[in-house]
């Protein structure tokens, strides 16, 4: 889902980057309010966590492996605003130091994976919780919705390129496939495989966090992650 440079026109990148500015501004403010002075270490360590999770290969049926993004997971355990910053910082490090995802496309990539994915995922999760579904199941549905929302946005950003940016003769200058190809291609992969990977991993982690027993040394540290107040 990381869009490399060269696929999107610089104009699109500028618009997506501009869209992320108020989002980041708001999330820095929200995180400051919620976590008072602990903001920096919390967000730094959240970002490192996000980066690490994206490194893990998850076995999928058929003998191959896939990656999870963990946006919804972070939104559930840290809150959606902190998730925005964590995933954004992880994506910046990936783009600048490892060349995963474009530098110009960072605006688009962060919008999809660091803003849409955690917020849609978190929103759906909260909705499911309100419908009295179990936490583990709600998190799975949320994660599935979150990653598919991000995939859909990616497909739209790519698919509008040939309509907006072409030569006088109508030849595409950037990504050549229109929406009628980009959306089915992206959504097929995410609705069938990547969405379930994300859902299963998120649900299993939530399940694991709920199951950490009282005699476990980690128990005292996980109360906040389980949603308990102390």
């Amino acid at each position: 889902m990381h869009i490399p440079d060269g696929y999107l026109s610089p104009q699109t990148c500028a618009v997506m980057g501009a869209a992320m500015v108020p989002v980041l501004y708001k999330s820095v403010k929200e995180v400051n309010k919620e976590l008072d002075k602990k903001d920096i270490p919390t967000m730094a360590i959240g970002s490192a966590f996000s980066f690490t999770v994206m490194m893990f290969n998850v076995p999928i049926p058929g003998g191959t492996t896939a990656h999870a993004i963990g946006s919804t997971l972070l939104a559930i355990v840290l809150g959606p605003w902190a998730a925005v910053i964590s995933v954004t910082v992880a994506l910046i490090i990936q783009a600048l130091l490892f060349g995963d995802g474009g530098v110009l496309a960072l605006g688009a990539n962060t919008f999809n994976m660091a803003f849409l994915a955690p917020f849609v995922g978190y929103g759906v999760y909260k909705l499911m919780m309100r419908l009295k579904l179990k936490k583990v199941l709600s998190s799975a549905i949320g994660a599935y919705a979150g990653i598919n929302a991000a995939a859909f946005a990616t497909a739209v950003e790519l698919g509008i390129q040939p309509m907006l940016f072409h030569t006088a003769t109508g030849k595409a200058l950037y990504f050549p496939y229109e929406l009628n190809i980009s959306i089915p291609a992206m959504m097929f992969a995410h609705l069938t495989v990547a969405g379930f990977v994300e859902a299963i991993v998120t649900a299993l982690v939530i399940y694991y966090l709920e199951k950490v027993e009282e005699d476990n040394i980690l128990y005292q540290y996980s109360y906040r992650l389980r949603g308990e107040k102390r």
């Binding site: 490399p4 440079d5 060269g6 696929y7 610089p10 990148c13 980041l24 820095v28 008072d36 002075k37 602990k38 920096i40 270490p41 919390t42 730094a44 360590i45 959240g46 970002s47 490192a48 966590f49 980066f51 490194m55 893990f56 290969n57 998850v58 076995p59 999928i60 003998g63 492996t65 963990g70 997971l73 910053i85 910082v89 992880a90 910046i92 490090i93 783009a95 600048l96 130091l97 490892f98 060349g99 474009g102 530098v103 110009l104 030849k171 595409a172 200058l173 990504f175 050549p176 299963i200 991993v201 299993l204 982690v205 694991y208 966090l209 950490v212 980690l218 540290y221 996980s222 992650l225």
Partner: protein, 271 residues
């Protein structure tokens, strides 16, 4: 089914390798290494923007040659560099673009025939080549930047853009903890692998990955508290002052002016 263990272990080793490799090259005496990281970061970003506005093959070819020369003058091993950049920009992009070059996607004058009614069009091939070149140039610049600069310096250079400090400090701190978490994960995956008998079922594999994520999450939460307390005990009160020791040298001015000349000449040539 236990390929996921090896893939993750190799992936993490790959990151450590990249870090080591870039530290080694950043320590060499080359063109890019002699520049101030702030100047380097900003100029590389601007060069990527300009390259992405490029629409013609010729314009992008000039940029492609420029990146290779830059890599050469910065003492970056050319073979490894081209291989690394080409995997994404040529091979990955090429596979995605291949269908768009055929006549069933868009009509055009035939270039290579596969059958009577199936051929690659000249226009399609040209458009794909442009995109591949653009992707190659952009990725090259990023790669040259990340190899010729110490990674901590790249992140430090962000401060000079006057972004909110919350953001830049988070970036710098995150970088340190990434390596801690990667090491913890590496050890966990290695421990699991060394205790492995037979094949791991997909189900168990997914459970294992999720439990690693869960345990790292709990540890990170614990670490946050500790780091925060450690910072407070050293006088942290919610504000952060940072020192940067970057200094502009004559090389930076030479670099900036020669790049300006290059860009202006490129636009005047109307490629």
């Amino acid at each position: 089914m236990d390929r996921f263990l090896e893939k993750t272990i190799q992936g993490i080793y790959g990151i450590f390798e990249d870090l080591f490799y870039s530290d080694e090259i950043a320590a060499k005496k080359g063109l890019m290494q002699s520049l101030d990281p702030r100047v380097k970061l900003l100029s590389i970003l601007l060069l990527i923007v300009i390259a992405n506005f490029g629409k013609s093959i010729l314009f992008l070819s000039v940029f492609a040659i420029y990146t290779v020369v830059l890599a050469f003058l910065s003492k970056i091993p050319l073979k490894a560099y081209i291989k690394r950049v080409a995997v994404i920009s040529i091979i990955f992009t090429g596979i995605i673009l291949l269908p768009s070059t055929f006549n069933f996607f868009e009509k055009g004058s035939p270039l290579i025939y596969f059958g009577k009614n199936l051929y690659i069009t000249k226009e399609g091939a040209l458009a794909s080549l442009t995109l591949m070149m653009r992707s190659f140039v952009s990725l090259s610049f990023v790669y040259i930047l990340s190899l010729s600069t110490k990674w901590t310096d790249i992140l430090k250079a962000f401060r000079s853009f006057h972004l909110p400090q919350v953001f830049t400090t988070t970036l710098e701190m995150a970088f340190r903890y990434i390596f801690l978490f990667l090491e913890v994960s590496l050890n966990t995956f290695l421990a699991r692998k060394s205790r492995n008998v037979g094949k791991i079922k997909g189900r168990d594999g997914r459970k294992f990955v999720a439990s690693v994520i869960g345990s790292i999450l709990i540890r990170s939460n614990e670490l946050t508290e500790e780091v925060y307390k450690a910072m407070v005990s050293r006088g942290y009160r919610g504000e952060y002052k940072t020192f940067s020791s970057f200094k502009m040298t004559p090389w930076d001015y030479i670099w900036i002016s020669s790049n300006l000349i290059f860009i202006i000449a490129l636009f005047n040539a109307k490629l």
